[in-house]
Symmetry: C2
Amino acid sequence: MRPTLTEARDLDSRDTLAAFKAHFALPDGMLYLDGNSLGAQPRAARDALDATRDQWRDALVGGWNQGWFDAPERLGDLLAPLIGARAGEVLVSDSITLNLFKLLGYITECQGRARPVILSEGGNFPADGYIAEGFCRSAGFEHRLLPEGAPLETHLDTQVAVVVLSQVNYRTGQLRDMADTTRRIHAQGAEVIWDLAHSAGALAVDLQGSGARYAVGCTYKYLNGGPGAPGFLYVRGECQRAAWQPLSGWHGHTQPFAFEADYAPAAGMTRFRTGTHSALAYAPLEASLTLWQEVDIAALRAKSLALADLFRTCLTDLFEIHGIEDITPPPAQRGSQVGLIQREHGYAIVQALIARGVIGDYREPGLMRFGFTPLYLSHVDVWHAAEQFREVVESAEYRNPRFQTRTEVT
Amino acid sequence: MRPTLTEARDLDSRDTLAAFKAHFALPDGMLYLDGNSLGAQPRAARDALDATRDQWRDALVGGWNQGWFDAPERLGDLLAPLIGARAGEVLVSDSITLNLFKLLGYITECQGRARPVILSEGGNFPADGYIAEGFCRSAGFEHRLLPEGAPLETHLDTQVAVVVLSQVNYRTGQLRDMADTTRRIHAQGAEVIWDLAHSAGALAVDLQGSGARYAVGCTYKYLNGGPGAPGFLYVRGECQRAAWQPLSGWHGHTQPFAFEADYAPAAGMTRFRTGTHSALAYAPLEASLTLWQEVDIAALRAKSLALADLFRTCLTDLFEIHGIEDITPPPAQRGSQVGLIQREHGYAIVQALIARGVIGDYREPGLMRFGFTPLYLSHVDVWHAAEQFREVVESAEYRNPRFQTRTEVT
């Protein structure tokens, strides 16, 4: 039976996270299922950005002594509890790409360059592989790609120094078992860097409990930090040593204001800082992470699964008739997204939905991707989004030529 | 004879750049001589930031198709004419530190790694040396430091692949002859990367005419892009080849949205892009660079020199009596700053001035640094700042213990 609007309203009335929606500035008339690309704007983030804008005007260079300079460490400590890390283990800095480069250099230096291969996974967001290739080419390592679906052990030999893996696959939403995978990689004498882009803020990440030593992630998706907000990196306390990371900038120096001729890395996570960062980019993220301190992650996870399943249940009857394949993994193996493949019309269906104010996104070939962000989506929102999907498909509205034109969105 | 306030007013009445001051939001009661650390806020930059903040709220992920994605190239083309470059030769991206790393990798790959040494200069802002060290350690090169004041040729042998030099020294304000120095380095078969941090927006940089092939710079000082605004890099058109830069991020891929497994660098400057950038950090910079299109750089340079000399002429009579050494270079060899050394009391004098709303900065040992930004400083401003300096020194106000406490500012 298809769920009714009344049933969706009833679920909202029992939703312990419902009050969070009022903390977000959401455009009227939009049903936004793309928070896995760019998160919505917390009202407090807007205020924090305005305050930093005014601080630039009024305090000018003095702003660096009023919280700007220490933001990478301070925001790292705010982020830590959301991903099962401890204070002093997370730094907010640069982007996933650059943080991967730093960690690859740092880890291989810690290993004394004893193993020559960096392994990244095929079939996932390729950016992690691109920077692994660049690192290997520059630093004299060999890059190998783990084919999609191949068992890890077939490619995990004694040559492999570091494996780069995503906890949640950006296309399929498949969730890896972090504890088990980490154990298997460590058992082969290799290290793993976890990419949390599609898991931080989407589910209960447990870096500490899973035995993970290294991770990177971004804050502009589920964590609502703003477009292109800074990334983060995690190094388990026991793994913070005196090694260098290769992007040795002056903010990562042990005494940045002594202006010494030689580089000497700072203690702890500070060594992973590079050059001067944008104070304007950190301000909204700090406000969002502050809001996130109030979130019960177990409740978030339960609502995420419920919203995704509500969406699918509303549409199940359409799938076979309209050639739609539901590739969404079962709950225990899922991130916070639904994946529906319609090879011929997937692109046009997403465009027709966008024209109706239902924002999902599209990835070749044929994949319609819908992200579920429990802090600002209600069950009623999801019910209405599914209704719009039904109307687009049943009316064949997507066949209109204006929905065929290709445009690109990050 | 000390200049009078009437004389300063007269200079302002003939100042062809005077109208620019109204385009900046300046705090009341402050005389800001630290635009060489962080530039003041253009009113248009404030408006542009607000517009991008609202675009995040209203367009959400759609913002990437509304100008955010192409900002690195678009802002590069806006910046190009300010530094004597052509369209397609400048990219706004990351920071000086990261851009130096990219260029060191790119240039040494273009050279086929034929020479093993990277040379950076001692006595200048050490961050350029720090990242050169990190690059060398990671990529297998040797880093050497050119001692301050040593003739370039004494360290420029056939082992040297790349030299990193600042056009203007951050401490002394000394301006290098870019054309002559570039010619001498090229004559030895080496390349030079110019750091324009203290020259872009301060004087007429002529990358094209000087024969320079590579440069980096920042936009948060003289170019008023905001705290930690993105840096830039320049590669002369003839030197844009198929080589990789090591920080190979997905935005630098030839087809970032094809999600291909292997990295293939984009044509032109786009290959120097890395990961997803902060749209909020680019917005105010774009507005500022748009304002800069109206600036007559020759008039800017003339006013810069005049302001610095007005400040010094107002104070000359104090120097010998109070043990102050004026290290400001002669006009043809000067950036846009004045350097005064008082070894015993320099720090406290700067603190006492800050307490009076006259913002300069201090660098060990004993150096009081005052930057002159012709777009938002008048001759009358500078005259008043000099009067405040006189009062602080003549009254020995700086001896108050509250001006001895050390705090750090970038």
